[in-house]
Symmetry: C2
Subunit: 303 residues, 2 copies
């Protein structure tokens, strides 16, 4: 028999991650798919969720807590942003109960930053950060690398400030659809923590203002350089972007950075941060998501 | 009767520009199309050129001089790069006579830069630069904005050094195929020399190391800012990229910059250079191309 007490969902732009959790928040079953917000119309979210839970054999009285882009305008149902600084209480107090599902479903809001000429948004990352805090991480700078890498300042348990770099998205566009693509195709070569990656990070950290110029060097090196210097241009592309990402952070990184990331991205950023002279601690994304969602489930559903 | 003495062709990645020229190099007829290198197989260049000249009523004894990507590997026929520093004599002495056309067709080589860890290439821009020089411009820094913006140092009539920024290509990718596209769609609003463009240039010049972060601000501003600050995000995107392009130039721009550009791009770069405190002179691309190609035609075909 199922011992599931609630389901936790991280519903992003391009992925859907669901965990069926027991009373202590431990994952009993999990389901991952590419059914993110980009692949669903607003009226398709509820039936998709119901279908997954039904296939997993879960009964209708299992409540669901959802973070991420499902709460964006154009997602399942808009959960308006909590303004920064935001604590986990601020998030929990602004949940939106979604319609259309057989399950009681609470959507967590994202956080918005409206400062002096400074604007930013997050949806989902707040839950990972509060999850990492509940796992024992403390105040300071958090980095969540990905399609849109977030650099966040956490003080007194609240998310107070952050900025977002389009690192992963620009990497995807340039490696797949640009005049650099021929030189950056996916191969069996590793791209993270390779010499080509590390050299590119060094170059980008040295001249981060030259990013648009450095990127073209992938083409000219491939055409002109000796073999050794023209190897693994995909790693070079990612290294240039990650180096500029780090160089562009407007927070002081001299204290330890908490990286919330998958193993691959986490290793890449840890390597790059170390080249820049900064120490970091790596927390697995999935662990942080689960911990964050479980905390909200306990609070919202009084499980 | 036709008074054409030769045809001049600037055959780029995405465009084909042909002029039928009289004895003094003046354009008598012109033909522009989108039949660039990306749209033609190697064996399609010659028939396409012959077809255009035949439609224009030109006889087979009209010789043709070609600059640009038609001479790249994968183009019509490879014209190996002249190594920098390169004078117009170096270019003229390395022409390649192309095969397959009914017309005697000379393809001009590009120029390659192989320095200490520094590599770059150009194809076509050298002809525009030598054209601008023949129109009276003098040594110094030349900027040729576009898909790939070139910043070139010219000394003693030779192209000695340059770097390339992927400004136009990144603008195209982000405005058409990214999570910023919704906010950057083409509209009737002007993008060049607008307030939104100018403000973005100022921001980028102030923090060019933050490019990947500044780009995301297009999304967050569109979602959160008051109407005035969220207007014309397409102009903001281009302004951020042009500002970083200029900030990344490794040459001293304190002397006058010679801009070789279309009117629109020329005005945008002239505005941005002026915000950065630099003066510039604008030479029309087509005029420079025609002057450069005519000079080579005179020399090669002894017209």
């Amino acid at each position: 028999m199922s011992q599931t007490r609630f389901a936790a969902v991280d519903w992003g732009t391009s992925s859907f991650r669901l965990w069926c959790c027991g009373a202590d928040g431990e994952a009993i079953r999990r389901h991952h798919s590419s059914k993110g917000m980009f692949h669903l119309r607003a009226d398709e979210f509820a039936p998709y969720l119901d279908g997954v839970l039904s296939e997993l054999g879960e009964s209708e009285d299992i409540p669901v807590v959802v973070c991420g882009m499902a709460g964006a305008r154009g997602g399942w149902m808009e959960a308006p942003y909590a303004p920064a600084p935001a604590t986990s209480d601020d998030i929990a107090s602004r949940i939106v109960l979604a319609e259309g599902s057989r399950h009681k479903s609470a959507i967590l809001p994202g956080v918005s930053l409206v400062g002096d000429k400074r604007f930013d948004v997050m949806r989902g990352e707040e839950t990972l950060i509060f999850g990492a805090l509940s796992l024992g991480e403390s105040d300071g700078i958090f980095c969540l690398p990905g399609t849109h890498s977030k650099w966040c300042r956490v003080a007194d348990g609240a998310i107070t400030d952050w900025s977002t770099a389009m690192t992963g998205e620009i990497f995807g566009l340039l490696s797949r659809q640009s005049t650099l693509s021929d030189f950056c195709a996916e191969t069996k070569e590793a791209i993270y923590s390779t010499t080509a990656f590390e050299r590119a990070v060094v170059e980008a950290l040295r001249n981060p203002n030259q990013l648009t110029h450095l990127l073209f060097s992938i083409r000219s090196r491939s055409l002109l350089a000796k073999e050794e210097e023209a190897q693994n241009m995909r790693a070079r592309l990612y290294g240039l972007l990650v180096g500029c990402d780090i160089a562009g952070v407007r927070f002081d990184l001299s204290d330890n950075v908490t990286l919330v990331a998958s193993e691959q991205l986490g290793n890449a950023y840890q390597t790059a941060l170390s080249i820049a002279g900064h120490s970091s601690t790596l927390i697995d994304t999935e662990r942080a998501a689960l911990a964050g969602l479980a905390n909200f489930a306990h609070r919202i559903f009084e499980i």
